[in-house]
């Protein structure tokens, strides 16, 4: 039976958006852990570490996120390791997010002038002290706008988790559309909710970028 698309459905969609946000938080946290390690490995003075990290980034950036989701969700359960949608998503998004954040952060680390390392070393600081007190604080400022930009991509890409049975915003839209038969109204609403989440972030990122350019 077909029902009307009403206020109740909109409320449901807004509620479903919390899973989109939860998934984004999970993906970002996982991706940040992987990305931080990759970024540091990528600027390591040891060539094997650099090559390993670079290989990882090349492979992940050259493969679709959807394939990683399928690999962990369907692939592992056939291999005898049944995983739930959360676990599969956690792995896939961490691997994917890590590769992109790793590159963004490596860029930020090498954007800090090499003379800053030298100045720290010349004062007798250890490598870790130089990293922690001199390089990182400057790199964070450089990395913040593109990191927020990536987060916007991440929010939109959580919709792919719908394919492994996650009921987040997009999946909830599909379900609502199927039962109300009002795809146009439903997906416009879905798009608006995504936009309302992403727009403030892009604005924020743009403002930070402007401020950074002025400060330089």
């Amino acid at each position: 039976m077909i029902r009307e698309f009403g206020t109740g459905d909109i409320v449901y969609l807004v509620f479903a958006a919390r899973w989109t946000l939860a998934l984004t938080a999970l993906a970002f946290t996982g991706g940040a852990c992987v990305g931080l390690i990759l970024a540091v490995l990528r600027i390591s003075s040891l060539a094997p570490l650099r090559i390993m990290a670079s290989l990882y980034i090349q492979i992940v950036q050259g493969t679709p996120l959807l394939v990683w989701l399928f690999l962990f969700y369907f692939g592992l359960s056939i291999a005898g390791l049944p995983v739930n949608a959360w676990t599969a998503a956690a792995f896939a998004y961490s691997i994917y997010g890590g590769a992109f954040l790793g590159e963004i952060w490596r860029g930020a680390l090498i954007a800090v002038a090499p003379t800053q390392w030298e100045a720290g070393a010349s004062l007798g600081l250890t490598y870790l002290q130089q990293m922690r007190y001199i390089i990182m604080p400057q790199a964070v400022r450089i990395a913040t706008p593109p990191t927020i930009g990536f987060m916007v991509q991440l929010i939109k890409n959580t919709s792919l988790a719908a394919t492994i049975g996650f009921v987040e915003l997009t999946r909830e839209g599909q379900l609502t559309s199927a039962s109300t038969y009002k795809p146009f109204a439903v997906y416009i609403t879905v798009a608006c909710i995504y936009f309302l989440i992403c727009f403030p972030l892009t604005q924020w990122s743009r403002r930070l970028e402007d401020r950074f350019n002025v400060a330089r």
Partner: protein
């Protein structure tokens, strides 16, 4: 024991030999001005002294400690060897006070209060006591360089290296930095300066070292060396910079 002793030091960048069999001895309290054309190896020589650049042959001793020895703790050595760079290299995200106190707190384990007191002292020595809470970008180039000197002084080094510290400054700002250097020299600091400031070298250096093609081409007491160059290369260099 000499403060600095270089014996047959050679350094290559790939196939390019930038230091070629350099030997030089510097005693405590000396102020050495290293002069020479760009590309003659003067800055490289300075950077080898605190281990920022490795050398391929010879050895460098600072207060008897071998710099080019894998067993030497370079961090410990660098606590005694201050270096000031052409481009200041202040930490732009830190206040003047934090720029100066960072290493004393982390490396010398001074308390924040103690470190800040020393920061106030060294800033007074470079004439910037009122800038202790400023950010580097709020200062002029000359002031930034004076903070960089203060940052180095705060570690209480036994030897200070100055790598063309006035070259990035507008002419009207070099004077204030040179006056700070004079003050440091008067306090008896052992100093090695790579410099283009012949006036400063003439008045405050104890010895001139002229480098050419990666070698110590000529050296000697300032007045003598500058007025009676022994080699054609130094003579033509002096003609070029003095006229």
């Amino acid at each position: 024991m000499s403060r600095v002793e270089l014996t047959n030091v050679s350094k290559n960048y790939g196939p390019l030999r930038v230091l070629n069999d350099v030997s030089l001895t510097i005693e405590t309290g000396e102020v050495i001005a290293i002069i020479g054309r760009s590309g003659s190896g003067k800055s490289t020589l300075l950077r080898c002294l605190n281990g920022l650049e490795p050398i391929q042959a010879g050895h460098i001793l600072i207060d008897g400690v071998k710099v080019n020895d894998p067993d030497t703790d370079l961090r410990k050595l660098r606590q005694n060897v201050g270096i000031v760079f052409q481009s200041f290299n202040l930490f732009p995200h830190l206040s003047v006070s934090d720029n100066i106190t960072l290493a004393p707190r982390l490396v010398l384990k001074q308390s924040p209060e103690q470190a800040r007191k020393i920061a106030a002292d060294v800033l007074a020595r470079v004439g910037l006591a009122d800038k202790i809470d400023a950010l580097p970008q709020q200062l002029s180039g000359g002031q930034q360089q004076r903070v960089a000197i203060a940052r180095s002084l705060a570690m209480n080094p036994q030897l200070m290296l100055f790598d063309e510290v006035t070259s990035a400054l507008d002419p009207e700002l070099t004077g204030e930095v040179l006056r700070v250097l004079e003050g440091v020299a008067r306090e008896g600091m052992t100093m090695i300066l790579v410099t283009h400031e012949m006036g400063f070298a003439r008045h405050f250096a104890t010895r001139i070292v002229f480098m050419h093609e990666g070698k110590v081409w000529e050296q000697g007491p300032v007045a003598d060396t500058l007025s009676h160059p022994q080699t054609a290369e130094l003579k033509s260099f002096l003609d070029a910079v003095l006229n």
